[in-house]
């Protein structure tokens, strides 16, 4: 492997790690929003 390939690999790995984390963050955010909405619907007097 050419030394420059290690440079590309390091930069790519950095962004892969950040993108994976950001996607887990987005899915957790969506799940919590949904959970909170359902809980509020359940506890509302009309429910």
């Amino acid at each position: 492997m050419n030394a420059t390939h290690y440079l590309y690999a390091a930069y790519a790995a950095t962004w892969v790690i950040h993108i994976i984390y950001l996607s887990t963050l987005a899915s957790r955010y969506a799940r919590l929003k949904r959970e909170l909405r359902e809980l509020k619907e359940k506890s509302s007097p009309g429910a």
Partner: protein, 229 residues
Amino acid sequence: MKRSFPIFAVLTALLLGYAFYEAMFVAPTDQMQGDVYRIIYYHVPSAWTMFIFFLTNFVASVVYLVRRNPKADAVAAAAAEIGVVFCTVVLVTGPIWARPVWGIWWTWDTRLTSTLVLWLIYVSYLMLRRFSSGGQAPVLAAALAVFGALDMPLVYFSIWFFRTQHPQPVVGDGGSIDPRMWHVWLLNWAAFLCFGLLVFWKRYQLEILQQEVNETQALQTLHDPRSSQ
């Protein structure tokens, strides 16, 4: 606040793009290592950003232990998680850099091992928060964070105190670096710090939302114990 997030996000993206361009095409090539040394522009700024978030976690944990403020707990949780992400980047880019330069992926020297231990401590911290139930979880996590922070000075000063495979510092005391490299280095650090703060902002909101969900669930259980079954 809501309106400023997209503006900050766009500015951070532009800064990251510019910092990448400077790191890849403008910074001079290292005479010894060639272009592979450019990994430094991602590796070291990630390490510094990691330290800032772990330090934030430490301060917020102390504040939580003293005042039991849920917002301090949210700051601690968010900072620890982002610190772990940056620590992962450091632990992945380090060996990728070491292989062509040292001829090995990994060695159990003080700097590398203490960084791995730091990562393990904060992963344990996150697992403790994730899997323990009951009101004492944030207190236990804060106590673990205070002890975990003791590893930070060991990581930072290990290259001064011990003979390690890891190079000595090239900035600050005892080091010298080409001013053009230093400029690109600082630029990349500013970019990663802004990116980290941006993610921290969202992660903090997520933690506050989690606290809201927990409170609503607890209130519902109090009013109707059957709803928790």
